[in-house]
Symmetry: C2
Subunit: 221 residues, 2 copies
Protein backbone atom coordinates (compact mmCIF):
# COMPACT_ATOMS: atom_id res chain seq x y z
CA UNK A 1 0.00 0.00 0.00
CA UNK A 2 1.69 3.17 -1.16
CA UNK A 3 1.42 6.39 0.79
CA UNK A 4 2.42 8.60 -2.12
CA UNK A 5 0.09 11.61 -2.21
CA UNK A 6 -2.18 11.92 -5.21
CA UNK A 7 -0.54 14.00 -7.91
CA UNK A 8 -3.27 15.50 -10.02
CA UNK A 9 -2.49 16.41 -13.60
CA UNK A 10 -4.21 19.18 -15.53
CA UNK A 11 -7.16 16.97 -16.39
CA UNK A 12 -7.58 15.36 -12.99
CA UNK A 13 -7.08 18.59 -11.06
CA UNK A 14 -10.27 19.79 -9.53
CA UNK A 15 -10.94 23.21 -10.97
CA UNK A 16 -13.96 24.23 -8.98
CA UNK A 17 -14.82 24.48 -5.31
CA UNK A 18 -11.28 23.59 -4.38
CA UNK A 19 -12.04 23.12 -0.69
CA UNK A 20 -13.90 19.97 -1.71
CA UNK A 21 -10.79 18.39 -3.21
CA UNK A 22 -9.13 15.84 -0.99
CA UNK A 23 -5.65 14.84 -1.96
CA UNK A 24 -4.90 12.07 0.49
CA UNK A 25 -4.51 8.68 -1.03
CA UNK A 26 -6.35 7.15 1.93
CA UNK A 27 -9.44 9.15 0.96
CA UNK A 28 -9.25 7.77 -2.59
CA UNK A 29 -8.99 4.24 -1.27
CA UNK A 30 -11.89 4.81 1.14
CA UNK A 31 -14.21 6.02 -1.63
CA UNK A 32 -13.26 3.14 -3.92
CA UNK A 33 -13.70 0.59 -1.16
CA UNK A 34 -17.12 1.97 -0.20
CA UNK A 35 -18.58 1.91 -3.72
CA UNK A 36 -20.03 -1.10 -5.51
CA UNK A 37 -20.05 -0.16 -9.20
CA UNK A 38 -17.90 2.32 -11.05
CA UNK A 39 -18.69 4.23 -14.21
CA UNK A 40 -16.19 3.46 -16.96
CA UNK A 41 -15.89 5.96 -19.80
CA UNK A 42 -14.09 5.43 -23.08
CA UNK A 43 -14.12 6.94 -26.55
CA UNK A 44 -15.73 4.97 -29.37
CA UNK A 45 -15.68 6.38 -32.90
CA UNK A 46 -14.82 9.77 -31.45
CA UNK A 47 -17.79 9.86 -29.07
CA UNK A 48 -17.83 9.23 -25.34
CA UNK A 49 -19.47 6.14 -23.86
CA UNK A 50 -20.02 5.55 -20.15
CA UNK A 51 -21.22 2.28 -18.68
CA UNK A 52 -21.56 0.83 -15.17
CA UNK A 53 -18.84 -1.71 -14.43
CA UNK A 54 -17.87 -3.95 -11.54
CA UNK A 55 -14.54 -3.12 -9.96
CA UNK A 56 -12.28 -3.71 -6.99
CA UNK A 57 -9.19 -2.12 -5.52
CA UNK A 58 -6.11 -4.09 -4.49
CA UNK A 59 -3.42 -1.83 -3.09
CA UNK A 60 -2.75 0.82 -5.72
CA UNK A 61 -4.38 -1.18 -8.53
CA UNK A 62 -7.96 -0.85 -9.76
CA UNK A 63 -9.48 -3.94 -11.37
CA UNK A 64 -12.34 -3.67 -13.84
CA UNK A 65 -14.49 -6.69 -14.54
CA UNK A 66 -16.46 -7.69 -17.58
CA UNK A 67 -17.19 -10.14 -20.33
CA UNK A 68 -14.72 -10.59 -23.15
CA UNK A 69 -17.70 -9.78 -25.37
CA UNK A 70 -18.34 -6.38 -23.81
CA UNK A 71 -17.35 -3.55 -26.13
CA UNK A 72 -16.41 -1.32 -23.20
CA UNK A 73 -13.82 -3.81 -21.96
CA UNK A 74 -12.53 -4.51 -25.46
CA UNK A 75 -12.07 -0.81 -26.11
CA UNK A 76 -10.40 -0.22 -22.78
CA UNK A 77 -8.16 -3.26 -23.18
CA UNK A 78 -6.68 -1.89 -26.36
CA UNK A 79 -4.67 0.61 -24.31
CA UNK A 80 -6.90 3.56 -25.01
CA UNK A 81 -7.45 6.27 -22.44
CA UNK A 82 -10.25 5.54 -20.02
CA UNK A 83 -11.81 7.43 -17.14
CA UNK A 84 -13.41 5.81 -14.11
CA UNK A 85 -15.70 7.48 -11.61
CA UNK A 86 -17.10 6.17 -8.34
CA UNK A 87 -19.66 8.40 -6.66
CA UNK A 88 -21.50 7.88 -3.39
CA UNK A 89 -24.39 10.21 -2.58
CA UNK A 90 -24.71 10.81 1.16
CA UNK A 91 -27.57 13.26 1.30
CA UNK A 92 -29.42 16.22 -0.16
CA UNK A 93 -28.66 19.75 1.03
CA UNK A 94 -31.86 21.71 1.59
CA UNK A 95 -30.42 25.23 1.62
CA UNK A 96 -32.17 28.53 2.35
CA UNK A 97 -31.78 29.41 -1.33
CA UNK A 98 -32.38 27.20 -4.35
CA UNK A 99 -28.92 28.15 -5.60
CA UNK A 100 -27.19 26.49 -2.65
CA UNK A 101 -29.24 23.30 -2.82
CA UNK A 102 -26.71 20.55 -3.33
CA UNK A 103 -25.70 17.05 -2.34
CA UNK A 104 -23.32 15.58 0.15
CA UNK A 105 -21.20 13.07 -1.72
CA UNK A 106 -17.87 11.32 -2.10
CA UNK A 107 -16.52 11.02 -5.61
CA UNK A 108 -13.32 9.60 -7.06
CA UNK A 109 -12.14 10.09 -10.66
CA UNK A 110 -9.30 8.06 -12.15
CA UNK A 111 -7.69 8.70 -15.53
CA UNK A 112 -5.30 6.45 -17.37
CA UNK A 113 -4.88 3.44 -19.54
CA UNK A 114 -6.10 0.00 -18.60
CA UNK A 115 -4.23 -3.21 -19.35
CA UNK A 116 -5.79 -6.60 -19.95
CA UNK A 117 -4.70 -9.23 -17.45
CA UNK A 118 -3.56 -12.27 -19.38
CA UNK A 119 -1.53 -14.34 -16.91
CA UNK A 120 -3.74 -17.05 -15.43
CA UNK A 121 -2.66 -16.65 -11.80
CA UNK A 122 -2.81 -12.86 -12.00
CA UNK A 123 -6.31 -13.17 -13.43
CA UNK A 124 -7.40 -15.48 -10.62
CA UNK A 125 -5.96 -13.07 -8.05
CA UNK A 126 -7.83 -10.20 -9.66
CA UNK A 127 -11.07 -12.19 -9.81
CA UNK A 128 -10.68 -13.01 -6.13
CA UNK A 129 -10.29 -9.29 -5.36
CA UNK A 130 -13.37 -8.51 -7.49
CA UNK A 131 -15.32 -11.24 -5.69
CA UNK A 132 -14.28 -9.94 -2.26
CA UNK A 133 -15.51 -6.49 -3.26
CA UNK A 134 -18.83 -7.63 -4.71
CA UNK A 135 -19.64 -10.52 -2.39
CA UNK A 136 -17.18 -10.87 0.51
CA UNK A 137 -16.80 -14.52 1.51
CA UNK A 138 -18.14 -15.99 -1.72
CA UNK A 139 -14.72 -16.96 -3.07
CA UNK A 140 -13.99 -20.33 -1.51
CA UNK A 141 -17.71 -20.93 -0.90
CA UNK A 142 -19.21 -20.87 -4.40
CA UNK A 143 -17.70 -22.90 -7.26
CA UNK A 144 -14.52 -21.31 -8.64
CA UNK A 145 -14.38 -20.44 -12.33
CA UNK A 146 -13.52 -23.28 -14.71
CA UNK A 147 -11.32 -22.88 -17.78
CA UNK A 148 -14.19 -21.91 -20.06
CA UNK A 149 -15.54 -19.37 -17.60
CA UNK A 150 -12.08 -17.90 -17.06
CA UNK A 151 -11.68 -17.49 -20.81
CA UNK A 152 -15.03 -15.71 -21.04
CA UNK A 153 -14.08 -13.20 -18.36
CA UNK A 154 -12.01 -10.12 -19.04
CA UNK A 155 -10.24 -8.34 -16.22
CA UNK A 156 -8.52 -5.04 -16.73
CA UNK A 157 -6.06 -3.38 -14.37
CA UNK A 158 -5.37 0.34 -13.92
CA UNK A 159 -2.82 2.06 -11.73
CA UNK A 160 -4.31 4.52 -9.25
CA UNK A 161 -1.85 7.19 -10.26
CA UNK A 162 -3.81 9.98 -11.87
CA UNK A 163 -6.76 10.43 -9.57
CA UNK A 164 -8.79 13.04 -7.74
CA UNK A 165 -11.20 12.81 -4.84
CA UNK A 166 -13.92 15.30 -4.09
CA UNK A 167 -15.99 15.19 -0.94
CA UNK A 168 -18.81 17.43 0.21
CA UNK A 169 -20.16 16.94 3.71
CA UNK A 170 -21.85 18.96 6.39
CA UNK A 171 -24.68 21.49 6.49
CA UNK A 172 -25.82 23.96 3.81
CA UNK A 173 -23.39 26.70 2.74
CA UNK A 174 -25.84 29.57 2.45
CA UNK A 175 -25.27 33.26 1.85
CA UNK A 176 -24.81 35.29 5.04
CA UNK A 177 -27.90 37.38 4.30
CA UNK A 178 -30.03 34.23 3.93
CA UNK A 179 -28.71 32.86 7.24
CA UNK A 180 -29.39 36.22 8.85
CA UNK A 181 -32.94 36.38 7.44
CA UNK A 182 -33.64 32.93 8.96
CA UNK A 183 -36.78 32.76 6.80
CA UNK A 184 -36.98 29.00 6.19
CA UNK A 185 -35.74 25.65 7.48
CA UNK A 186 -32.45 24.39 6.10
CA UNK A 187 -30.51 21.22 6.64
CA UNK A 188 -29.48 17.88 5.24
CA UNK A 189 -31.61 14.87 4.40
CA UNK A 190 -29.19 11.95 4.69
CA UNK A 191 -29.35 9.15 2.14
CA UNK A 192 -28.23 5.72 3.31
CA UNK A 193 -27.78 2.35 1.72
CA UNK A 194 -28.80 -0.81 3.49
CA UNK A 195 -28.52 -4.51 2.72
CA UNK A 196 -31.88 -6.22 3.23
CA UNK A 197 -32.64 -9.79 4.25
CA UNK A 198 -31.22 -12.47 1.90
CA UNK A 199 -33.71 -13.73 -0.71
CA UNK A 200 -33.02 -17.43 -1.35
CA UNK A 201 -33.03 -18.76 -4.91
CA UNK A 202 -36.34 -20.60 -5.47
CA UNK A 203 -34.43 -23.55 -6.99
CA UNK A 204 -32.60 -24.35 -3.75
CA UNK A 205 -33.49 -27.72 -2.23
CA UNK A 206 -31.10 -27.89 0.72
CA UNK A 207 -29.35 -24.82 2.23
CA UNK A 208 -32.46 -23.09 3.50
CA UNK A 209 -30.42 -20.63 5.46
CA UNK A 210 -27.98 -18.14 3.98
CA UNK A 211 -24.35 -18.69 5.04
CA UNK A 212 -22.70 -16.48 7.64
CA UNK A 213 -20.80 -14.38 5.10
CA UNK A 214 -24.10 -13.35 3.53
CA UNK A 215 -26.06 -12.87 6.75
CA UNK A 216 -23.23 -10.83 8.27
CA UNK A 217 -23.61 -8.24 5.53
CA UNK A 218 -27.24 -7.38 6.34
CA UNK A 219 -27.53 -3.85 7.70
CA UNK A 220 -26.01 -0.48 6.74
CA UNK A 221 -24.02 -0.71 3.51
CA UNK B 1 -45.01 12.77 -23.02
CA UNK B 2 -44.17 10.77 -26.10
CA UNK B 3 -44.87 7.07 -26.36
CA UNK B 4 -42.47 6.49 -29.23
CA UNK B 5 -40.50 3.32 -28.56
CA UNK B 6 -36.78 3.72 -28.03
CA UNK B 7 -34.92 3.37 -31.30
CA UNK B 8 -31.41 2.21 -30.50
CA UNK B 9 -28.65 3.07 -32.93
CA UNK B 10 -25.53 0.97 -33.39
CA UNK B 11 -23.80 2.55 -30.41
CA UNK B 12 -26.78 2.54 -28.06
CA UNK B 13 -27.86 -0.98 -28.99
CA UNK B 14 -27.20 -3.43 -26.21
CA UNK B 15 -24.86 -6.02 -27.62
CA UNK B 16 -24.69 -8.44 -24.75
CA UNK B 17 -27.23 -10.34 -22.69
CA UNK B 18 -29.99 -9.08 -24.91
CA UNK B 19 -32.77 -10.30 -22.62
CA UNK B 20 -31.72 -7.55 -20.23
CA UNK B 21 -32.46 -4.83 -22.76
CA UNK B 22 -35.74 -3.07 -22.23
CA UNK B 23 -36.99 -0.99 -25.10
CA UNK B 24 -40.02 0.68 -23.61
CA UNK B 25 -39.79 4.37 -23.14
CA UNK B 26 -41.66 4.08 -19.85
CA UNK B 27 -38.79 1.97 -18.47
CA UNK B 28 -36.29 4.66 -19.48
CA UNK B 29 -38.36 7.31 -17.75
CA UNK B 30 -38.73 5.15 -14.63
CA UNK B 31 -34.96 4.64 -14.30
CA UNK B 32 -34.24 8.34 -14.84
CA UNK B 33 -36.92 9.37 -12.36
CA UNK B 34 -35.61 6.95 -9.71
CA UNK B 35 -31.97 8.08 -9.88
CA UNK B 36 -30.48 11.11 -8.15
CA UNK B 37 -27.20 11.76 -9.98
CA UNK B 38 -26.18 10.83 -13.49
CA UNK B 39 -22.71 10.22 -14.85
CA UNK B 40 -21.91 12.61 -17.69
CA UNK B 41 -19.12 11.61 -20.07
CA UNK B 42 -17.46 13.82 -22.64
CA UNK B 43 -14.24 13.88 -24.60
CA UNK B 44 -11.56 16.37 -23.60
CA UNK B 45 -8.32 16.57 -25.60
CA UNK B 46 -9.16 13.19 -27.11
CA UNK B 47 -9.57 11.44 -23.76
CA UNK B 48 -12.79 10.49 -21.99
CA UNK B 49 -13.89 12.24 -18.80
CA UNK B 50 -16.81 11.13 -16.64
CA UNK B 51 -18.20 13.14 -13.74
CA UNK B 52 -21.27 12.93 -11.50
CA UNK B 53 -23.86 15.53 -12.44
CA UNK B 54 -27.27 16.57 -11.19
CA UNK B 55 -30.09 15.99 -13.64
CA UNK B 56 -33.85 15.87 -14.10
CA UNK B 57 -36.28 14.62 -16.70
CA UNK B 58 -39.16 16.66 -18.05
CA UNK B 59 -41.16 14.73 -20.62
CA UNK B 60 -38.70 13.63 -23.28
CA UNK B 61 -36.02 16.11 -22.23
CA UNK B 62 -33.11 15.48 -19.89
CA UNK B 63 -31.72 18.49 -18.05
CA UNK B 64 -28.16 18.57 -16.77
CA UNK B 65 -27.19 21.00 -14.06
CA UNK B 66 -23.92 22.63 -13.21
CA UNK B 67 -21.86 25.72 -12.74
CA UNK B 68 -20.91 27.87 -15.70
CA UNK B 69 -17.35 27.33 -14.47
CA UNK B 70 -17.50 23.55 -14.70
CA UNK B 71 -15.42 22.21 -17.57
CA UNK B 72 -17.79 19.28 -18.08
CA UNK B 73 -20.72 21.60 -18.71
CA UNK B 74 -18.67 23.94 -20.91
CA UNK B 75 -17.48 21.03 -23.02
CA UNK B 76 -20.94 19.57 -23.31
CA UNK B 77 -22.49 22.94 -24.09
CA UNK B 78 -20.29 23.40 -27.13
CA UNK B 79 -22.42 20.83 -28.97
CA UNK B 80 -19.99 17.97 -28.60
CA UNK B 81 -21.20 14.41 -28.24
CA UNK B 82 -21.92 13.40 -24.66
CA UNK B 83 -23.06 10.21 -22.99
CA UNK B 84 -25.12 10.05 -19.81
CA UNK B 85 -25.60 7.02 -17.59
CA UNK B 86 -27.91 6.53 -14.63
CA UNK B 87 -27.45 3.27 -12.74
CA UNK B 88 -29.34 1.97 -9.72
CA UNK B 89 -27.98 -1.11 -7.96
CA UNK B 90 -30.76 -3.21 -6.46
CA UNK B 91 -28.82 -6.12 -5.02
CA UNK B 92 -25.96 -8.59 -5.27
CA UNK B 93 -26.48 -12.00 -6.85
CA UNK B 94 -24.86 -14.74 -4.78
CA UNK B 95 -24.77 -17.52 -7.37
CA UNK B 96 -23.69 -21.14 -6.98
CA UNK B 97 -20.64 -20.34 -9.10
CA UNK B 98 -18.38 -17.31 -8.91
CA UNK B 99 -18.89 -16.83 -12.65
CA UNK B 100 -22.60 -16.12 -12.23
CA UNK B 101 -22.17 -13.74 -9.33
CA UNK B 102 -23.71 -10.50 -10.51
CA UNK B 103 -25.87 -7.56 -9.54
CA UNK B 104 -29.49 -6.70 -9.93
CA UNK B 105 -29.62 -3.21 -11.40
CA UNK B 106 -31.43 -0.72 -13.60
CA UNK B 107 -29.31 1.28 -15.98
CA UNK B 108 -30.07 3.88 -18.63
CA UNK B 109 -27.60 5.19 -21.22
CA UNK B 110 -28.30 8.26 -23.33
CA UNK B 111 -26.19 9.43 -26.27
CA UNK B 112 -26.44 12.72 -28.06
CA UNK B 113 -25.59 16.37 -28.08
CA UNK B 114 -26.54 18.73 -25.30
CA UNK B 115 -27.65 22.31 -25.83
CA UNK B 116 -27.15 25.19 -23.41
CA UNK B 117 -30.40 26.76 -22.26
CA UNK B 118 -30.12 30.50 -22.75
CA UNK B 119 -33.70 31.80 -22.61
CA UNK B 120 -34.42 33.08 -19.10
CA UNK B 121 -37.87 31.53 -18.72
CA UNK B 122 -36.73 28.21 -20.21
CA UNK B 123 -33.84 28.23 -17.76
CA UNK B 124 -36.16 28.88 -14.82
CA UNK B 125 -38.44 26.06 -15.97
CA UNK B 126 -35.47 23.72 -16.21
CA UNK B 127 -34.16 24.78 -12.79
CA UNK B 128 -37.59 24.12 -11.33
CA UNK B 129 -37.54 20.61 -12.84
CA UNK B 130 -34.02 20.04 -11.47
CA UNK B 131 -35.16 21.25 -8.04
CA UNK B 132 -38.20 18.97 -8.07
CA UNK B 133 -35.94 16.05 -8.84
CA UNK B 134 -33.32 16.84 -6.20
CA UNK B 135 -35.51 18.26 -3.46
CA UNK B 136 -39.23 18.00 -4.20
CA UNK B 137 -41.13 20.90 -2.66
CA UNK B 138 -38.12 23.19 -2.23
CA UNK B 139 -38.98 25.40 -5.20
CA UNK B 140 -41.45 27.93 -3.83
CA UNK B 141 -40.19 27.33 -0.28
CA UNK B 142 -36.51 28.32 -0.46
CA UNK B 143 -35.42 31.63 -2.02
CA UNK B 144 -35.53 31.55 -5.82
CA UNK B 145 -32.33 32.30 -7.74
CA UNK B 146 -31.50 35.96 -8.25
CA UNK B 147 -30.00 37.37 -11.46
CA UNK B 148 -26.41 36.76 -10.37
CA UNK B 149 -27.14 33.18 -9.31
CA UNK B 150 -29.02 32.50 -12.54
CA UNK B 151 -26.03 33.74 -14.51
CA UNK B 152 -23.68 31.46 -12.56
CA UNK B 153 -25.80 28.39 -13.29
CA UNK B 154 -25.56 26.44 -16.52
CA UNK B 155 -28.38 24.15 -17.58
CA UNK B 156 -28.05 21.84 -20.54
CA UNK B 157 -30.87 20.01 -22.29
CA UNK B 158 -30.70 16.71 -24.18
CA UNK B 159 -33.41 14.91 -26.10
CA UNK B 160 -34.10 11.40 -24.88
CA UNK B 161 -33.90 10.01 -28.39
CA UNK B 162 -30.90 7.74 -28.54
CA UNK B 163 -31.17 5.71 -25.37
CA UNK B 164 -31.02 2.19 -24.01
CA UNK B 165 -32.24 0.65 -20.79
CA UNK B 166 -30.85 -2.50 -19.25
CA UNK B 167 -32.43 -4.17 -16.25
CA UNK B 168 -31.41 -7.27 -14.35
CA UNK B 169 -33.74 -8.56 -11.67
CA UNK B 170 -34.61 -11.85 -10.03
CA UNK B 171 -32.63 -14.80 -8.68
CA UNK B 172 -29.24 -16.16 -9.79
CA UNK B 173 -28.96 -17.57 -13.33
CA UNK B 174 -26.77 -20.58 -12.56
CA UNK B 175 -25.69 -23.46 -14.77
CA UNK B 176 -28.08 -26.42 -14.71
CA UNK B 177 -25.40 -28.70 -13.28
CA UNK B 178 -24.75 -26.30 -10.40
CA UNK B 179 -28.47 -26.10 -9.64
CA UNK B 180 -28.67 -29.89 -9.79
CA UNK B 181 -25.66 -30.29 -7.48
CA UNK B 182 -27.36 -28.03 -4.92
CA UNK B 183 -24.04 -27.76 -3.12
CA UNK B 184 -24.31 -24.25 -1.69
CA UNK B 185 -26.78 -21.51 -0.83
CA UNK B 186 -27.64 -19.07 -3.59
CA UNK B 187 -29.83 -16.01 -3.70
CA UNK B 188 -29.99 -12.24 -3.75
CA UNK B 189 -28.94 -9.76 -1.11
CA UNK B 190 -31.10 -6.72 -1.81
CA UNK B 191 -29.58 -3.25 -1.57
CA UNK B 192 -31.93 -0.43 -0.65
CA UNK B 193 -31.65 3.30 -0.30
CA UNK B 194 -33.34 5.13 2.50
CA UNK B 195 -33.73 8.79 3.47
CA UNK B 196 -32.85 9.29 7.13
CA UNK B 197 -34.13 11.86 9.60
CA UNK B 198 -33.56 15.51 8.58
CA UNK B 199 -30.44 17.09 10.12
CA UNK B 200 -31.14 20.79 10.78
CA UNK B 201 -28.52 23.40 9.92
CA UNK B 202 -26.81 24.46 13.18
CA UNK B 203 -27.23 28.14 12.17
CA UNK B 204 -31.04 27.97 12.27
CA UNK B 205 -32.65 30.14 14.94
CA UNK B 206 -36.34 29.67 14.21
CA UNK B 207 -37.75 26.77 12.13
CA UNK B 208 -36.78 23.97 14.51
CA UNK B 209 -38.86 21.48 12.62
CA UNK B 210 -38.29 20.45 9.01
CA UNK B 211 -41.16 21.37 6.65
CA UNK B 212 -43.62 18.75 5.43
CA UNK B 213 -41.99 18.38 2.00
CA UNK B 214 -38.77 17.31 3.71
CA UNK B 215 -40.30 15.13 6.43
CA UNK B 216 -42.52 13.38 3.87
CA UNK B 217 -39.44 12.12 2.03
CA UNK B 218 -38.05 10.16 5.01
CA UNK B 219 -38.19 6.43 4.35
CA UNK B 220 -37.37 4.20 1.37
CA UNK B 221 -35.79 6.20 -1.47
Amino acid sequence: MTTTPLSPTARSRINRVKERAVTERAALYAVLDAGLVCHLAYVHDGAPVVLPTGYARDGNTLYLHGSTGARSLRNAAEGAEVCVNVTLVDGVIYARSMFHHSMNYRSAVIHGQARLIVDRQAKLDALRALAEHLAPGSWGYAREPNAKELAATAVLAMDLTEAAVKIRSGPPADEDYDVEADAVWAGVLPLRQEWGAPEPCPLLRAHDEAPEHVKARVGPA
